[in-house]
């Protein structure tokens, strides 16, 4: 009567017999317990592509922050920040800078933005009116004792005209570099910084006339968006500079200035007034550390045990990726696994603390989801500079960063040498755990514990051993997570937290650098 047109063959035809009822996954949850299910649900949620790799400042990160916050709230933790009124601590991510306005005029010559002049984002906002002074290649110390700044004239109060590149021969090729390649002296940043150090109030970059370089015709603003100097920096084309000089009735040409600078460094005021103005909008972006506090008991409650994990990852791999820039990095092991662990530990420790017998002394426990770790431990570093209690009252810090791909039961613990007695204690706990702990003295893997060690807090860092090839790639996906052993890590550190809260004498800090 008709044909069935099946273009996709169902891939499941060859599945083995499943167990009864709901099939394999529900059966595995049943067999391995509720904690495994919890771990699965957290890492599955947090690694979903919808969260776009949990990059700080993005909607996916906003969802993540709220997820951790709501779970802390539901677990019964108190807000850790702002005197107990907020679960969030703002961490600056630096800013996005955009040019809003620009203008350049000199002696009747007016620049047309985009055509003959532009603004360099290496400079700052500013509105200056001053005399132009030629500063040659603006080199502090070049080859054979060359220096633009020998002391006869400086740039104080002037707008410096700075030639790009470096001393060149008649054909416009470098006299300092091998095989026609410009040396480090030709870079923008050292020139700008040198001119600023000499007192310039503004800088105008120019391509020297006759230079043998494909970039000779462009407006030399550079492509940097990072501010390097605190004065406005403009750039104009060679033709525009020549026109400017002519219009001002200068007694020297652009080429003549170059030829002199090729021979020796010097500064010469040009007797031309100029106005340079740039407006750069700096929009600062923020992400939040999420912190929940479990108050302790008695006298010890004023001390803090910290348990943390970073909640961010690499987004679309703009930085930090191991070869997959532009692709989504789900970060299931790094660090949805750790994020899940701190949520689960909060849910276990709250009822534990509440059920301690009357009169028990226990330290408070601070649960911290760090933000912006991947960019350089920014969240943790901010926290130790702005801790909720004096940093001396932090007695122990535990960090999870990748506990989701345990193989052969092996887990590394870094940092046990930073606290007296920690290693022995871990060995005891290891006996009761199905995991095989490797507590060694290397501190070669960087994560959020580092700033705490830097402030004298004994710290333990748990991470899988070895790392896996999916690390910092799009392959760090949820299905591959070893949930069962991740839960074993949670179980182990539940005991560490309880011990850390209850032990009467805190572990004395041992500086890891001193112990070498």
């Amino acid at each position: 009567m008709f044909t069935t047109t099946l273009i996709l063959a169902p891939a499941l035809l060859a599945l083995p017999q499943e167990p009864a009822a709901g099939g394999q996954i529900p059966a595995l949850y049943e067999a391995h317990g509720d904690a495994v299910r919890q771990m699965d649900e957290h890492i599955t949620f947090l690694s979903n592509a919808f969260l776009a790799g949990r990059l700080p400042g993005t909607p996916g990160m906003h969802i993540t922050e709220r997820y951790v916050e709501e779970h802390f709230l539901a677990a019964g933790l108190e807000p850790a920040f702002d005197n107990g009124s907020s679960y969030r601590q703002s961490v600056s991510l630096g800013g996005a800078r955009t040019l809003v306005a620009q203008s350049l005029t000199a002696a009747g010559w007016e620049g047309t933005a985009g055509e003959d002049f532009g603004i360099s984002m290496s400079g700052a906002s500013g509105d200056v009116r001053a005399e132009l002074a030629f500063a040659g290649y603006s080199v502090v110390e070049g080859q054979d004792g060359y220096s633009s700044f020998s002391g006869e004239q400086d740039l104080a109060g002037k707008i410096a005209i700075v030639y790009r590149f470096e001393p060149m021969d008649e054909a416009g090729r470098t006299m300092w570099g091998e095989n026609g390649r410009w040396t480090r002296a030709a870079g923008f940043t050292p020139k700008l910084q040198a001119a600023e150090a000499q007192g310039a109030v503004g800088i105008i970059l120019v391509n020297p006339p006759g230079v043998d370089d494909p970039r000779a015709g462009e407006i030399p603003t550079g492509r940097q968006n990072r501010q390097r100097v605190n004065i406005p920096v403009a750039a104009i084309t060679t033709t525009a500079f020549e026109a400017l000089l002519k219009k001002a009735g200068a007694d020297v040409t652009a080429l003549e200035l170059r030829q002199e600078a090729d021979e020796r460094g010097f500064v010469r005021p040009l007797g031309i007034e100029a106005s340079l103005s740039a407006e750069i909008d700096q929009e600062e972006r923020f992400a939040d550390n999420i912190g929940g506090l479990l108050p302790g008991r008695g006298e010890l409650a004023k001390e803090l045990v910290v348990i943390g994990a970073h909640i961010d990852h690499l987004g679309m791999g703009v930085y930090g990726s191991r070869g997959f820039r532009g692709q989504l990095h789900p970060g299931a092991d790094d660090n949805a696994s750790g994020t899940a662990a701190i949520i689960m530990l909060a849910e276990r420790l709250v009822p534990w603390m509440n059920s301690l017998p009357e009169g028990t002394e226990a330290r408070s426990i601070l649960f911290l989801g760090f933000n912006a770790e991947e960019a350089g431990l920014d969240g943790a570093r901010h926290y130790v500079d702005y801790p909720v209690r004096p940093i001396e009252d932090h007695t122990l810090m535990i960090n999870f960063d990748m506990i989701g791909r345990v193989s052969n039961k092996k887990v590394q613990i870094l940092g046990s040498q930073t606290g007296e007695g920690l290693k022995e204690w871990l060995t005891e706990l290891d006996a009761a755990s199905p995991l095989e702990l490797n507590a060694h003295d290397r501190l070669n893997l960087g994560s959020d514990h580092i700033p705490f060690i830097g402030k004298g807090v004994p710290s333990l860092f748990a991470i899988i051993d070895p790392l896996h090839a999916d690390y910092h790639t799009p392959g760090d996906v949820a299905w591959k997570i070893n949930r069962v052993d991740a839960v074993h890590v949670v179980d182990l550190f539940e005991a560490v937290l309880q011990g850390g809260a209850l032990i009467p004498e805190r572990h004395a800090f041992i500086d890891p650098r001193a112990s070498r």
Partner: protein, 623 residues
């Protein structure tokens, strides 16, 4: 892991993913998901995400529902389909907004007398049955607020006028000394429901209504207050629900147990001179819900015809309505209907790929993938769609709906509607021969869900659902952990094939008038089951603009006929509870025993009338 250390990480530290060095029983879930393959992993991801408690039970109006819609839109976009709608400005849009009741925000509330004040949240909660207001008046106790109970019991003697009064009403109904209902073998009869009471009291025009838990009742709920904002608006007067401890204090230590006994014996309203003030500040904002939809353009001449593949995305939130276990707990709705929503997302992806792979010259209908909102409260999203179709309904060849496909047992999945389109049954039969699932074709309509508004417009449908019902339905136990991902994925494959076949079908898909089944007795499968009573009506043809179930015919001598229900009536309420859909109605019926009396609200000629129906036994002679 930190960027700063990344560059120094020795490669020797890295091992291959899931290398053979591990123990054989290591990471069982990873192993299972790895073996089951990408599609099962994707189904797992969708179901876990959508049923996360973080999504607030996907109640329209909550943050969680916003996340659910954004999630579905994201994955439709990833599938490569185009936005399904066009907004008012003419721009392509993934959303179709529609009005869906209102959300209630309670800003402040207080109840007080000279004896003290009751605190909102602690002593009382503000109910959604009422409105805002700042009123004062003497307290009048009107018993249990019963309009008409057994043996002529009423809380309102003739002429009871509550104007300017603050009406205090006991929860539940007349009870024995032991605190058990006088009117029911089970807990309480349908008379005990809030809705009926509030309506009965409101009819007497009070300035405000205070519902009070009765002391001594044999029910643990006397120590609980209803969820803030629960209940659908019935009156403008403020309505609150108060603990008996707080009420007694407000009345100057009045013995509420003695008062209760007075009403248990049928005593008259008690008028006090206790000046009571009730102050409720709330805002009701109209709620705008949204259907989410993506379009896969067809090919060739058939592209002008449309197939809709849909599933409702919404669920019950904290269970303030529609729950079978009571309000106040999160209802994750994994089977109902994250399971169906996940299928839509995967089908968009797979059908898009199939369409791309079609050879030059192939013809296929266009497909609109829809995630409906507002289903749980009465098929509101699908109803709105058919009343405001972005694509003409005359071009709509077929509607495929999924509502609960996540708890398949023994490989059995039910597909109803095969008799609504000429070639449908043959298509389903042929395609399902290739599936590992056992396709069950049920008797009758198969259950109430978003295909019904389409069916009412004479559009053929196929409705996929689990063949074997479970008791977690509409409870907090409908969790992701129990979802059968493997068979859910198989269902996706099955419906991919069905949809593709139907989309390319050059034969006849036109609508066939199906014989309406006798809904009352014939439940779609025996799991719904032990319905012991028979109502005795035949549903008529639906008028999509009105809610409820139309009565097409009345069985002579049956329960409905005896009570005076007529052909042309619409069944709207069952002991105060709104009849949402056929399935919901059958749920209510399942709770009854022969001989139970039910207050049935019907609409006749635009007016709502309440008739008392005595339910006959299902296996009464001759039927």
């Amino acid at each position: 892991m930190s960027l700063t250390k990344r560059l120094t990480l020795p490669l020797a530290l890295l091992a291959a993913p899931l290398a053979g060095a591990q123990q054989a029983d290591e990471a069982p879930l990873a192993r299972a998901l790895g073996e089951l393959g990408t599609d099962v992993q994707v189904y797992h991801d969708h179901v876990v995400y959508l049923s996360s408690p973080f999504l607030d039970g996907r109640l329209p109006g909550t943050d969680g529902m916003e996340l659910a819609k954004d999630y579905c839109q994201y994955w439709l976009e990833q599938a490569g389909v185009a936005p399904g709608f066009v907004d008012e400005a003419g721009t392509a849009s993934w959303r179709q907004p529609f009005p869906l009741g209102d959300t209630l925000e309670i800003h402040a509330a207080a109840v007080g007398t000279a004896e003290g004040s009751a605190l909102n949240g602690e002593d009382f909660s503000v109910l959604g049955y009422g409105g805002a207001g700042q009123v004062e008046g003497p307290a009048v106790w009107v018993g249990y607020g019963i309009e008409e109970g057994p043996e002529g019991y009423t809380s309102f003697p003739a002429g009871t006028d509550l104007s300017g009064k603050i009406a205090f009403v006991f929860r539940f109904e007349p009870m024995t000394e032991a605190g058990k209902s006088q009117w029911s073998e089970g807990r309480w009869s349908p008379q005990a429901g809030f809705g009926g009471k509030v309506q009965a009291v409101a009819n007497r025009n009070p300035a405000a209504i205070v519902l009070v838990n009765p002391p001594g009742a044999d029910d643990p709920r006397i120590e609980q207050l209803s969820g803030e904002g629960s209940g659908r608006k019935l009156t403008d007067a403020p309505v609150v629900h108060m603990s008996y401890q707080a009420a007694s204090k407000l009345m100057g230590g009045m013995d509420l147990l003695a008062l209760r006994r007075h009403f248990d014996q049928g005593g008259d309203p008690v008028i006090t001179d206790v000046a009571t003030s009730v102050d409720v500040d709330l805002t009701r904002t109209p709620l705008v819900a949204e259907n989410v939809g993506g379009m896969l353009r067809g090919k060739g001449a058939l592209a002008d015809e449309l197939i809709i593949i849909g599933a409702h995305l919404d669920h019950l939130g904290m269970g303030n309505f529609g729950s079978r276990s009571g309000p106040g707990e999160l209802h994750p709705g994994a089977d109902d209907n994250a399971s169906g929503s996940a299928a839509i997302l995967m089908l968009a992806d797979k059908l898009k790929q199939s369409y791309e792979a079609m050879p030059e010259g192939a013809e296929a209908r266009s497909i609109l993938f829809l995630l409906f909102s507002g289903e749980e409260s009465g098929l509101n999203g699908s109803r709105y769609y058919v009343n405001n179709p972005p694509y003409p309904l005359e071009n709509l060849a077929l509607m495929i709906n999924f509502d609960m496909i996540g708890r398949i047992q023994n490989r059995r999945v039910q597909i109803s509607g095969t008799n609504t389109g000429v070639d449908l049954a043959a298509i389903v039969e042929a395609v399902s021969a290739n599936s590992e699932l056992e396709v069950v074709i049920p008797q009758g309509r198969g259950g109430g869900s978003d295909h019904l508004p389409f069916f009412q417009r004479k559009i053929p449908y196929l409705f996929g659902a689990i063949a074997d019902f479970h008791d977690d339905y509409h409870t907090p136990r409908d969790v992701a952990a129990k979802i059968n991902r493997v068979d859910g994925t198989r269902t996706v494959f099955l419906f991919h094939d069905i949809a593709l076949t139907a989309a390319m079908h050059q034969g006849d898909l036109s609508f066939v008038e199906a014989q309406p089944g006798n809904v009352a007795g014939g439940s779609r499968n025996s799991s719904l089951g032990d319905i012991k009573v028979r109502f005795g009506v035949m549903p008529g043809s639906y008028d999509e603009s009105d809610p409820g179930i139309p009565v097409g015919g009345v069985t002579p001598g049956g329960s409905a006929a005896t009570a005076g229900i007529q052909e042309g009536d619409r069944l709207l309420r069952w002991d105060g509870q709104k009849i949402v859909d056929v399935r919901g109605w059958m749920e209510m019926m399942a709770k009854h025993n022969p001989g139970d009396k039910v207050k049935v609200g019907i609409v006749r000629n635009g007016e709502e009338i309440t008739l008392e129906v005595t339910l006959q036994a299902r296996n009464q002679e001759g039927r």
